[in-house]
Amino acid sequence: MQQHLDVLDPFSESLVWREDIIDHGRHAATFYYWNIIDCVRYLIRQVAYRSDMVYATIREYDSTGERVYSEMHTADWSWDTQG
Protein backbone atom coordinates (compact mmCIF):
# COMPACT_ATOMS: atom_id res chain seq x y z
CA MET A 1 0.00 0.00 0.00
CA GLN A 2 2.70 2.47 1.00
CA GLN A 3 4.72 1.47 -2.06
CA HIS A 4 1.76 2.16 -4.28
CA LEU A 5 1.16 5.52 -2.64
CA ASP A 6 4.77 6.46 -3.32
CA VAL A 7 4.41 5.69 -7.02
CA LEU A 8 1.03 7.38 -7.33
CA ASP A 9 1.28 10.89 -8.68
CA PRO A 10 0.21 13.63 -6.37
CA PHE A 11 -2.85 15.51 -7.53
CA SER A 12 -1.79 18.21 -9.93
CA GLU A 13 -2.68 21.85 -9.47
CA SER A 14 -5.34 21.65 -12.12
CA LEU A 15 -7.39 19.32 -9.93
CA VAL A 16 -9.09 21.84 -7.72
CA TRP A 17 -12.57 21.74 -6.35
CA ARG A 18 -14.88 24.09 -8.07
CA GLU A 19 -17.78 25.52 -6.23
CA ASP A 20 -21.00 26.28 -7.97
CA ILE A 21 -24.31 27.53 -6.74
CA ILE A 22 -27.63 26.56 -8.22
CA ASP A 23 -30.46 28.89 -7.41
CA HIS A 24 -33.85 27.28 -7.53
CA GLY A 25 -36.38 29.63 -6.10
CA ARG A 26 -36.68 28.71 -2.46
CA HIS A 27 -33.01 28.49 -1.64
CA ALA A 28 -29.68 28.16 -3.33
CA ALA A 29 -27.85 24.85 -3.27
CA THR A 30 -24.07 24.71 -3.31
CA PHE A 31 -22.23 21.82 -4.86
CA TYR A 32 -18.62 20.95 -5.51
CA TYR A 33 -17.06 19.25 -8.50
CA TRP A 34 -13.85 18.64 -10.39
CA ASN A 35 -13.26 19.33 -14.04
CA ILE A 36 -14.06 15.97 -15.66
CA ILE A 37 -11.38 16.32 -18.35
CA ASP A 38 -8.70 17.02 -15.74
CA CYS A 39 -9.80 13.89 -13.87
CA VAL A 40 -9.38 11.78 -16.99
CA ARG A 41 -6.05 13.44 -17.73
CA TYR A 42 -4.88 12.59 -14.23
CA LEU A 43 -5.96 8.96 -14.54
CA ILE A 44 -4.57 8.32 -17.99
CA ARG A 45 -1.09 9.67 -17.24
CA GLN A 46 -0.90 7.83 -13.93
CA VAL A 47 2.41 5.95 -13.97
CA ALA A 48 1.26 3.62 -11.20
CA TYR A 49 -1.22 1.96 -13.59
CA ARG A 50 1.20 1.74 -16.49
CA SER A 51 1.35 -2.06 -16.61
CA ASP A 52 -2.45 -2.32 -16.58
CA MET A 53 -3.27 0.32 -19.14
CA VAL A 54 -4.61 -0.41 -22.63
CA TYR A 55 -4.81 2.01 -25.53
CA ALA A 56 -5.72 -0.29 -28.39
CA THR A 57 -8.47 -2.80 -28.97
CA ILE A 58 -7.81 -6.52 -29.30
CA ARG A 59 -9.77 -9.60 -30.27
CA GLU A 60 -9.31 -12.51 -27.89
CA TYR A 61 -9.79 -16.14 -28.88
CA ASP A 62 -9.53 -19.29 -26.80
CA SER A 63 -7.89 -22.54 -27.91
CA THR A 64 -10.98 -23.75 -29.78
CA GLY A 65 -11.22 -20.55 -31.77
CA GLU A 66 -14.20 -19.15 -29.91
CA ARG A 67 -14.27 -15.45 -29.31
CA VAL A 68 -13.64 -14.52 -25.68
CA TYR A 69 -14.92 -11.28 -24.19
CA SER A 70 -13.38 -10.05 -20.99
CA GLU A 71 -12.29 -6.46 -20.74
CA MET A 72 -13.85 -3.40 -22.33
CA HIS A 73 -11.25 -3.26 -25.09
CA THR A 74 -12.07 -6.81 -26.27
CA ALA A 75 -15.68 -5.97 -27.07
CA ASP A 76 -17.20 -5.31 -30.47
CA TRP A 77 -18.33 -1.92 -29.26
CA SER A 78 -14.71 -0.91 -28.83
CA TRP A 79 -13.87 -2.13 -32.33
CA ASP A 80 -16.75 -0.28 -33.86
CA THR A 81 -15.81 2.93 -32.10
CA GLN A 82 -12.05 2.91 -32.37
CA GLY A 83 -11.89 0.93 -35.58
Binding site: M1, H4, L8, D20, I22, H24, G25, R26, A29, T30, F31, Y32, Y33, W34, N35, I36, I37, C39, V40, R41, Y42, L43, I44, R45, Q46, V47, A48, Y49, R50, D52, M53, V54, Y55, A56, E71, M72, H73, W77, S78, T81, Q82, G83
Partner: protein
Protein backbone atom coordinates in the same frame (compact mmCIF):
# COMPACT_ATOMS: atom_id res chain seq x y z
CA UNK B 1 -12.02 8.88 -35.85
CA UNK B 2 -8.46 9.49 -37.12
CA UNK B 3 -6.06 6.53 -37.04
CA UNK B 4 -3.88 6.31 -33.98
CA UNK B 5 -6.39 7.90 -31.67
CA UNK B 6 -7.64 6.25 -28.52
CA UNK B 7 -11.10 5.84 -27.10
CA UNK B 8 -11.32 6.65 -23.42
CA UNK B 9 -14.50 5.09 -22.05
CA UNK B 10 -15.57 7.02 -19.00
CA UNK B 11 -17.35 5.09 -16.28
CA UNK B 12 -19.45 6.99 -13.80
CA UNK B 13 -20.69 5.77 -10.45
CA UNK B 14 -23.03 7.44 -8.02
CA UNK B 15 -24.98 6.56 -4.93
CA UNK B 16 -26.97 8.58 -2.48
CA UNK B 17 -25.79 7.80 1.03
CA UNK B 18 -27.55 8.35 4.31
CA UNK B 19 -25.12 9.84 6.81
CA UNK B 20 -27.26 10.39 9.88
CA UNK B 21 -30.86 10.67 10.93
CA UNK B 22 -29.92 13.18 13.59
CA UNK B 23 -29.74 16.89 12.95
CA UNK B 24 -32.29 16.75 10.16
CA UNK B 25 -31.49 13.81 7.88
CA UNK B 26 -28.05 14.44 6.48
CA UNK B 27 -27.23 12.82 3.16
CA UNK B 28 -24.28 12.82 0.82
CA UNK B 29 -24.52 12.21 -2.89
CA UNK B 30 -21.09 11.49 -4.36
CA UNK B 31 -20.41 10.93 -8.06
CA UNK B 32 -17.29 8.96 -8.90
CA UNK B 33 -15.39 8.56 -12.13
CA UNK B 34 -12.94 6.08 -13.60
CA UNK B 35 -11.84 5.11 -17.10
CA UNK B 36 -12.12 1.85 -19.00
CA UNK B 37 -8.53 1.91 -20.22
CA UNK B 38 -7.37 0.60 -16.88
CA UNK B 39 -7.68 -3.17 -16.71
CA UNK B 40 -10.35 -4.35 -14.35
CA UNK B 41 -7.94 -6.00 -11.93
CA UNK B 42 -6.53 -2.56 -11.18
CA UNK B 43 -9.72 -0.64 -11.69
CA UNK B 44 -11.62 -2.71 -9.15
CA UNK B 45 -8.88 -2.72 -6.57
CA UNK B 46 -9.63 -0.27 -3.75
CA UNK B 47 -6.02 0.09 -2.60
CA UNK B 48 -4.88 1.29 -6.01
CA UNK B 49 -7.34 4.17 -5.90
CA UNK B 50 -8.24 4.41 -9.58
CA UNK B 51 -11.64 5.95 -8.86
CA UNK B 52 -11.84 9.69 -8.40
CA UNK B 53 -14.52 11.64 -6.63
CA UNK B 54 -15.91 13.82 -9.38
CA UNK B 55 -18.67 15.74 -7.68
CA UNK B 56 -20.76 16.05 -4.58
CA UNK B 57 -24.32 16.68 -5.60
CA UNK B 58 -26.57 18.84 -3.47
CA UNK B 59 -29.30 16.98 -1.63
CA UNK B 60 -32.32 19.25 -1.55
CA UNK B 61 -35.10 18.55 0.96
CA UNK B 62 -37.65 15.99 -0.15
CA UNK B 63 -40.60 17.34 1.76
CA UNK B 64 -41.51 20.90 2.48
CA UNK B 65 -43.77 20.08 5.41
CA UNK B 66 -46.53 22.29 4.04
CA UNK B 67 -48.86 20.45 1.70
CA UNK B 68 -48.87 17.68 -0.86
CA UNK B 69 -48.94 20.20 -3.67
CA UNK B 70 -45.83 22.03 -2.52
CA UNK B 71 -44.15 18.67 -1.99
CA UNK B 72 -44.86 17.78 -5.60
CA UNK B 73 -43.52 21.12 -6.76
CA UNK B 74 -40.46 20.54 -4.62
CA UNK B 75 -39.86 17.14 -6.24
CA UNK B 76 -40.14 18.67 -9.68
CA UNK B 77 -37.71 21.39 -8.68
CA UNK B 78 -35.28 18.84 -7.23
CA UNK B 79 -35.26 16.98 -10.53
CA UNK B 80 -34.55 20.20 -12.41
CA UNK B 81 -31.74 21.02 -10.01
CA UNK B 82 -30.23 17.58 -10.46
CA UNK B 83 -30.34 17.94 -14.19
CA UNK B 84 -28.71 21.34 -14.25
CA UNK B 85 -26.02 20.09 -11.86
CA UNK B 86 -25.23 17.20 -14.19
CA UNK B 87 -25.26 19.60 -17.12
CA UNK B 88 -22.66 21.77 -15.43
CA UNK B 89 -20.46 18.86 -14.38
CA UNK B 90 -20.50 17.21 -17.81
CA UNK B 91 -20.34 20.38 -19.91
CA UNK B 92 -16.53 20.13 -20.32
CA UNK B 93 -17.01 16.65 -21.73
CA UNK B 94 -19.41 17.91 -24.36
CA UNK B 95 -16.94 20.54 -25.52
CA UNK B 96 -14.21 18.02 -26.37
CA UNK B 97 -16.31 15.06 -27.46
CA UNK B 98 -16.18 15.90 -31.19
CA UNK B 99 -12.56 16.95 -31.75
CA UNK B 100 -10.90 14.90 -28.99
CA UNK B 101 -8.11 16.05 -26.70
CA UNK B 102 -4.39 15.42 -26.80
CA UNK B 103 -3.34 13.76 -23.56
CA UNK B 104 -0.12 12.48 -22.04
CA UNK B 105 -0.33 8.75 -21.43
CA UNK B 106 1.34 6.61 -18.79
CA UNK B 107 3.73 4.97 -21.27
CA UNK B 108 5.28 8.31 -22.17
CA UNK B 109 3.45 8.82 -25.43
CA UNK B 110 0.94 11.46 -26.34
CA UNK B 111 -2.34 10.37 -27.83
CA UNK B 112 -5.41 11.97 -29.26
CA UNK B 113 -8.12 10.79 -26.89
CA UNK B 114 -11.83 10.65 -27.49
CA UNK B 115 -13.87 10.56 -24.31
CA UNK B 116 -17.09 8.64 -24.36
CA UNK B 117 -19.34 8.36 -21.35
CA UNK B 118 -19.99 4.67 -21.70
CA UNK B 119 -21.32 3.32 -18.42
CA UNK B 120 -23.04 4.54 -15.33
CA UNK B 121 -22.87 2.04 -12.49
CA UNK B 122 -25.66 2.60 -9.98
CA UNK B 123 -28.20 0.54 -8.09
CA UNK B 124 -31.88 0.50 -8.95
CA UNK B 125 -32.94 3.15 -6.45
CA UNK B 126 -30.36 5.48 -7.92
CA UNK B 127 -31.53 4.73 -11.48
CA UNK B 128 -35.04 5.60 -10.44
CA UNK B 129 -33.88 8.88 -8.91
CA UNK B 130 -31.64 9.87 -11.81
CA UNK B 131 -34.09 9.04 -14.58
CA UNK B 132 -37.13 10.14 -12.60
CA UNK B 133 -38.97 6.88 -13.16
CA UNK B 134 -41.15 5.04 -10.71
CA UNK B 135 -39.40 2.57 -8.49
CA UNK B 136 -41.26 -0.31 -10.16
CA UNK B 137 -40.25 0.50 -13.72
CA UNK B 138 -37.17 -0.69 -15.51
CA UNK B 139 -34.53 1.91 -16.41
CA UNK B 140 -33.27 -0.09 -19.42
CA UNK B 141 -36.30 -0.96 -21.48
CA UNK B 142 -40.05 -0.80 -21.57
CA UNK B 143 -41.96 -4.06 -21.68
CA UNK B 144 -45.74 -4.17 -22.01
CA UNK B 145 -47.33 -5.84 -19.00
CA UNK B 146 -48.40 -8.92 -20.99
CA UNK B 147 -44.88 -9.65 -22.15
CA UNK B 148 -43.23 -9.64 -18.75
CA UNK B 149 -40.70 -12.44 -18.47
CA UNK B 150 -40.29 -12.62 -22.24
CA UNK B 151 -37.37 -11.52 -24.31
CA UNK B 152 -37.33 -7.71 -24.24
CA UNK B 153 -36.58 -7.18 -27.90
CA UNK B 154 -38.61 -4.03 -28.10
CA UNK B 155 -36.21 -1.83 -26.24
CA UNK B 156 -36.62 1.91 -26.42
CA UNK B 157 -39.64 1.87 -28.69
CA UNK B 158 -41.35 5.11 -28.08
CA UNK B 159 -44.95 4.25 -28.86
CA UNK B 160 -44.86 1.27 -26.52
CA UNK B 161 -43.47 3.51 -23.90
CA UNK B 162 -46.25 6.04 -24.36
CA UNK B 163 -48.86 3.28 -24.08
CA UNK B 164 -47.23 2.05 -20.95
CA UNK B 165 -47.12 5.50 -19.53
CA UNK B 166 -50.78 6.17 -20.19
CA UNK B 167 -51.65 2.94 -18.48
CA UNK B 168 -49.48 3.76 -15.56
CA UNK B 169 -51.13 7.15 -15.34
CA UNK B 170 -54.57 5.55 -15.13
CA UNK B 171 -53.65 2.98 -12.53
CA UNK B 172 -51.04 4.62 -10.41
CA UNK B 173 -51.30 8.37 -10.62
CA UNK B 174 -48.71 8.79 -7.87
CA UNK B 175 -46.05 6.68 -9.53
CA UNK B 176 -45.95 8.15 -12.98
CA UNK B 177 -43.01 7.11 -15.07
CA UNK B 178 -41.27 10.28 -16.18
CA UNK B 179 -39.11 10.62 -19.21
CA UNK B 180 -36.21 8.23 -18.94
CA UNK B 181 -33.09 10.06 -19.92
CA UNK B 182 -29.70 8.64 -20.56
CA UNK B 183 -26.54 10.60 -20.00
Amino acid sequence: MPPGSTVVPIIGLSDQTQLTYFSGDKKAWPVYLTIGNILSRTRNSPVKMPILLLALLPVPPKFTGESARTDEAQRQMNANVRRSVFDRVLVQLEQVVQEGTVMDCADGKTRLCFHILSAWIVDHAEHAALHRIGSKSCPKCEVPCKELGGNPLKMYQTHHYILYREKALRHEPAKVAGSAEYF
